[in-house]
Symmetry: C2
């Protein structure tokens, strides 16, 4: 397939999205200090990052507020307390899960909100719910993406149908999401082409959200980029569920657009990441994540295994075989 | 370029080489316990690994024996003490650096040695020395590879000339070596084709030795594999200089040939790797290695930075800029 751009050139369509608070929040139940969030915002602004995701906008009807930090709910008010009028080039995103977001009550008109982009996340059986939310958010004036999760378990004919349905709802972007960190670059290349067969017809951009179970989050991200994917998710020091995500420092070290600078990212990693680690947050490549990745399974068992400091990898693997 | 094999198929030309003692020895000055080495040998045999590298055959005239463990010198006798007659399918390799190996004295006839493969490592200015050693080792009956190091700093016209010269000396294999962990998969793909333009004419196989500075050791290894590279270096739990190498557990988890099993590798990682870590050995991805990787520089400064627990990444990066 055709390559877009080269290792030396700038691709003007590229958008880097920092998902540290959102995917990283899955590690520490969204209990970030205000200092962490402010420093992250400053780092992203200075680094030329295009979007910063402040968390989920989860329903307070559904989730117990006392059990999570505020970025599980990422209200407009809490975001405003960090960004003020956000008089910067950095755009703000939130993620809204189908079935977990009370969007008609909790998502106001864009003119009243600091948020620019709403990322609607769903499983394939929730596509009609996603379409409803995409249309709602577009009508409210937001940029909208649709993140169809766990695609490595799906049949391509189903994905093709879902992509057509979603594209007709008019999102700006659809994400390729490797929820289980099970995909290899060769598959990412194929999947990108497969998605483009639909999204190109509708002028919908593509994004990539990768996990590092097999140390491929960065490799898969730049593989997708090479084939024309524009929206690239990354997190500081890879902070994210389980094995984590594509590291921002790797991605900005790779991109050639001089608008990006990884120096503010280095500063953030120096000063802030050791604190969340000291508070007990654990993420990053480890054998149990590799094993769920290879088995194309949800990382929950691996997260438990790592949390329990269980290093009986063979027994753990045997357990995964039983679940297949 | 054409792809060889697919994600589901077996490539009969593939040879997996465990370089844990050799590249990992750079981390702990080759001070491995005999138990570690024996368990590693057993694990490799059971895992179906094709070659196990026992270390360097460094000159005892040049290097002080008291400063290194025995695998810096990897004598036939020391190897025999582990493998006996090596009545297995696992072949034995050693690395011999041009200018650091007293090969006329220290490399006997293959019929008298447990070693099967000698890997001649050199920088490009040492090609005539490498040719002399390749011819010598071939005459002694060994399989021979040539590992031209630090190619990311070289001009392609020089590499092309070196490849012609080396191929004419008749090695079995030439390795693509990303000494600084600076190469991206897209470059690996290009370099593979570039090497093949010469090696295919001579029927010489290709190998890949990758480093993990940018979390790309595994990705680069399977990218090279996809384009026809046959000899794949890996180490247990990535153990190797600086950011380490392609992890054996990732590689065997990927390869589809049923002769490979990663269960013995998991056992080895469970039981032996924690011990070497407890003894103070440090390796694996960290920001300073990323920075030397991006800068295409030798990892020595990063190794010092990590050893000193210096996390002032910006200052470290500034220092690298001055060396460029």
């Amino acid at each position: 397939m055709a390559q877009k751009g080269s290792l030396l050139s700038v691709r003007e369509d590229v958008r880097v999205l920092d998902a540290t608070l959102r995917d990283g929040g899955l590690v520490n139940s969204f209990n970030f200090s205000d200092e962490f969030v402010k420093e992250l915002y400053e780092a992203n602004v200075k680094a030329g990052v295009d979007y910063m995701e402040f968390g989920y906008r989860a329903s307070k009807e559904l989730f117990d507020e006392s059990k999570f930090g505020k970025w599980k709910f990422a209200t407009d008010e809490d975001i405003r307390a960090i960004v003020g009028d956000n008089d910067t080039d950095l755009k703000i995103s939130i993620m809204a899960d189908v079935g977990r977001c009370d969007f008609r009550n909790d998502i106001k008109d864009r003119s009243e909100s600091p948020v620019d982009l709403i990322r609607v996340a769903c499983y394939i059986h929730q596509i009609p719910g996603a379409i409803e939310m995409i249309k709602y958010c577009k009508e409210k004036g937001y940029e909208v993406s649709c993140n169809i999760m766990a695609i490595s378990k799906l049949q391509e004919s189903d994905i093709a149908q879902a992509l057509e349905m979603v594209c007709q709802a008019g999102p700006d972007c659809i994400y390729i999401v490797d929820s289980y960190g099970s995909l290899y670059p060769e598959q990412i290349s194929r999947i990108t082409e497969f998605y483009q067969n639909v999204t190109d017809k509708y002028g919908v951009a593509l994004g990539i959200h990768a996990h590092n179970n097999q140390q491929l989050a960065f490799a898969n991200t730049i593989e997708a980029l090479k084939h024309g994917v524009s929206y690239l998710d990354a997190t500081m020091s890879s902070m994210g569920r389980g094995a984590g995500n594509c590291a921002m420092e790797l991605l900005l070290g790779f991109l050639k657009n001089p608008k990006y600078s990884f120096i503010p990212v280095l500063k953030f990693i120096e000063t802030q990441i050791p604190k969340v680690k000291a508070e007990g947050s654990v993420w990053g490549y480890d054998v149990p994540y590799l094993l769920t990745g290879i088995m194309n399974q949800h990382p929950s068992a691996a997260i438990e295994c790592v949390a329990n400091k269980n290093t009986n990898y063979r027994e753990f693997y045997e357990g995964l075989l039983d679940k297949d």
